[in-house]
């Protein structure tokens, strides 16, 4: 069915192919894809930027390593010292940054699309706070270690996510009600967070603050593998639903008319996005603003409508690694958690966006 839909779309689109920059790509077996040149270029550029940033980031720290040596070491030709620093210490941390950024970027794109609200990021809808409550309960009440905190965050995020979904469900999910329920749930969860922090001893309060800001310090392979597994399963699943999501932006009725199973698709996508968000929070804490900013930036760069799920994910990786690099270069290694910088970068980005869009007469 999907193959027919594709051909119809490309067929009707072909007369104005030159203007939109989209052209069909014919694959063997009668499958054809609609490829937008600008989106493709942006995607390639972002991938290149992400890889380059990863190499620079691996080379950055108390013991700097030149980019070429980093590449050599990654390929297995490095000195034993470099090999230890790169493969055991810095590579897992950079991989966590890459995956967390991508997961948040993609989840943000899904939520913004489903709630039809550019501010509908997982932080705003209460999922981030759910993870935070779970993690803080472990940190403050049980004084647990890093693994227990991650499990707590995962459990809290999933519980909050399912609760918000069920509370917003009333003969289906409607974007506006989802946002309102999310805001009510956020208020409750924030109150619990603040209460827990006032009850904590100073050491635990500081630990809680660092966790709440979101940090990449000291992440190792134990964080990489579960995150990688979640992303490996969910990225293809979400991307496979991308077309349906784009149809649903026209409204449920229109999407239903072109053959999208609206409620099922939405449940699947939201569940995937909740899982991605909580997995990211469990690995690095609720890093603010990536989920909000990445899909918006991607949308403006590709100039194509819809969720921009893949470009959003790439953009999330780039954003997080840029923030990490900036915080390490400006304040020294691991002085400030990366979440502080994403907040600053994100806020300034939004302000810039407002001023330029105002000049251009949009909004």
């Amino acid at each position: 069915m999907s193959a027919t839909a594709t051909t119809t779309v490309t067929a009707t689109d072909s007369p104005r192919k030159g203007r939109s920059g989209a052209r069909p790509l014919h694959l063997p077996g009668g499958i054809s894809l609609r490829v937008e040149r600008r989106a493709l270029a942006v995607g390639v550029l972002l991938t290149a930027a992400a890889l380059a940033l990863a190499v620079v980031l691996i080379g950055t720290g108390d013991f700097p390593i030149a980019p070429w040596d980093v590449v050599q070491t990654l390929l297995g030709n490095g000195t034993p010292a470099n090999d230890f620093i790169v493969n055991d210490l810095r590579l897992p941390r950079v991989l966590v940054a890459l995956l967390v950024g991508a997961a948040l970027g993609m989840a943000g794109g899904v939520f913004q699309s489903v709630s039809r609200n550019p501010l509908g990021s997982p932080d705003l809808l209460g999922f981030g706070y759910g993870s935070a409550v779970g993690a803080l309960v472990v940190i403050i009440l049980f004084k647990g270690g890093a693994t227990e905190v991650a499990v707590g965050a995962l459990a809290g995020g999933l519980l909050a996510g399912v609760a918000v979904y069920l509370l917003a469900y009333k003969q289906g999910i409607q974007g506006y009600r989802l946002v309102l329920v999310g805001i009510g749930a956020s208020a409750i969860l924030i109150a619990v967070i603040q209460y827990l922090i006032t009850k904590a001893q100073m050491i635990e309060a500081t630990r809680a603050m660092v966790w709440l800001t979101g940090s990449l310090a000291g992440r190792d392979w134990a964080q990489v593998w579960p995150l990688l597994a979640v992303c490996a399963v969910l990225f293809p699943l979400v991307l496979g639903q991308g077309r349906a999501l784009r149809m649903m932006e026209m409204g449920d009725d229109a999407a239903h008319a072109v053959g999208v199973r609206v409620e099922r698709t939405r449940m699947l996508l939201m569940l995937a996005a909740i899982l991605l968000t909580t997995a990211a929070s469990a690995a690095a804490g609720p890093i603010s603003f990536v989920a909000l900013a990445a899909p918006q930036l991607a949308r403006r760069l590709t100039r194509s409508p819809g969720g921009n799920l893949l470009t959003g994910a790439l953009m999330g990786s780039v954003l997080l690694m840029v923030s990490d690099l900036a915080s390490q270069r400006a304040f020294g290694a691991d002085q400030l958690p990366v979440g502080v910088v994403t907040g600053l970068v994100g806020g300034i980005y939004l302000l810039w966006l407002l001023v330029t869009e105002r000049r251009a007469g949009r909004i």
Binding site: K170, V181, A187, A191, A205, L350
Partner: protein
């Protein structure tokens, strides 16, 4: 028209009187209930026949300032929330969305970390200054004279995001600041004293008068900018007046007892359910019912974990959140 309108006005006026009676009752309960339970006799004695007994001192020096501050802060939060929702025509708007809370918190954290402020009465001025400065910046970035509701909300969100980054950075580098700020952020009436009451009262009074005077022009603006202009409302003047009222009310309330935003978001929604959209009544009811909610939450917070206390900010959200979700599920909420 007038004949039809009058009975409804009468019903609303009676309702308002009933709300005032509830408020008076809650105020008395707030004086009587706490770690040390007071009888009505003792409350009466402390209020009108002060003789310096321990009970009198508790009433005069602890309970009365706390109740007064609760009344004033509740009024400030409720009124500024109602004005904010009318100004942005957005049912999700709460006063904090203009960056008032982030501005206040940023100023307080700077004061603790860089200028050695340590007592709550010092925080008041800093918080107020920060709130005022940020709302001016947000107004300018939001387009000043040509501001639209969406632009204002976005500018406020952006400014808040940047400021929160700054606040977190300072807190993480200076644990002393974190230790002070974590208690301020929750929102609490526990450290109320007469000095704080005197400090914030003038701002709240001016803000409240201004907000109540805005009822009519805000009614006109609810119909859209063009219709409002045709009806003779001054758009810029109303907008600037509303911004000033919000900054005065919410800035003073936040300065006095930390950011308790949820009341400003929730009460106008509850009120509109039985007054209808007329802003003059929405404002009047919000002004009376918000302190009822705040004082009620404060009393509950004092009782549930006696002799310890639960901060009023926590109690409002824990009670208000479920009520809000229930309303969202039950009613057809006004769409954006």
């Amino acid at each position: 028209m007038a004949a039809v309108a009058r009975p409804r006005h009468a019903a609303r006026a009676v309702g308002l009187l009933a709300a005032l009676a509830v408020l008076a009752l809650i105020a008395v309960v707030s004086i009587a209930v706490g770690a040390k339970q007071m009888s009505l006799d003792e409350v009466w004695h402390g209020l009108f026949a002060y003789a310096g007994t321990p009970a009198d001192v508790v009433v005069r020096d602890l309970r009365i300032p706390r109740t007064l501050l609760g009344l004033m802060v509740g009024l400030g939060l409720g009124l500024s929330g109602a004005v904010m929702q009318a100004l942005t025509r957005n049912p999700l708007a709460e006063p904090g969305i203009l960056g008032v809370n982030a501005g206040a918190a940023a100023a307080v954290v700077s004061a603790i970390s860089f200028f050695g402020a340590s007592s709550l009465s010092e925080f008041v001025w800093w918080a107020f200054l920060g709130a005022a400065a940020v709302s001016v910046v947000v107004y300018v970035l939001g387009g000043s004279r040509s501001a639209t509701p969406v632009r204002l909300a976005l500018a406020g969100t952006a400014a808040s995001a940047a400021l929160v980054g700054y606040i977190n950075a300072v807190q993480l580098m200076d644990t002393k600041a974190l230790d002070k700020l974590r208690f301020w952020t929750v929102g609490s009436l526990a450290s109320a004293n007469m000095d704080t009451v005197r400090q914030v009262a003038p701002f709240l009074l001016v803000g409240a008068v201004l907000a109540l005077a805005l009822g009519r022009p805000l009614n006109a603006m609810a119909m859209g900018d063009d219709t409002a202009r045709a009806l003779g409302a001054h758009l810029t003047r109303t907008r600037v007046g509303a911004m000033i009222a919000i900054t005065l009310l919410c800035g003073a309330a936040t300065a006095a007892c930390g950011p308790i935003v949820f009341i400003g978001l929730m009460v106008p929604h509850l009120v509109r359910a039985f007054t209808g959209p007329d802003m003059r009544w929405v404002l009047a009811y919000s002004a009376v019912l918000s302190p009822v909610l705040l004082l009620g939450a404060d009393v509950i917070g004092r009782v549930v974990t006696r002799p310890a206390e639960l901060q009023v900010g926590v109690v409002t959200a824990l009670i208000g959140g479920p009520v809000f979700i229930y309303l969202v599920r039950r009613k057809r909420m006004a769409q954006l």
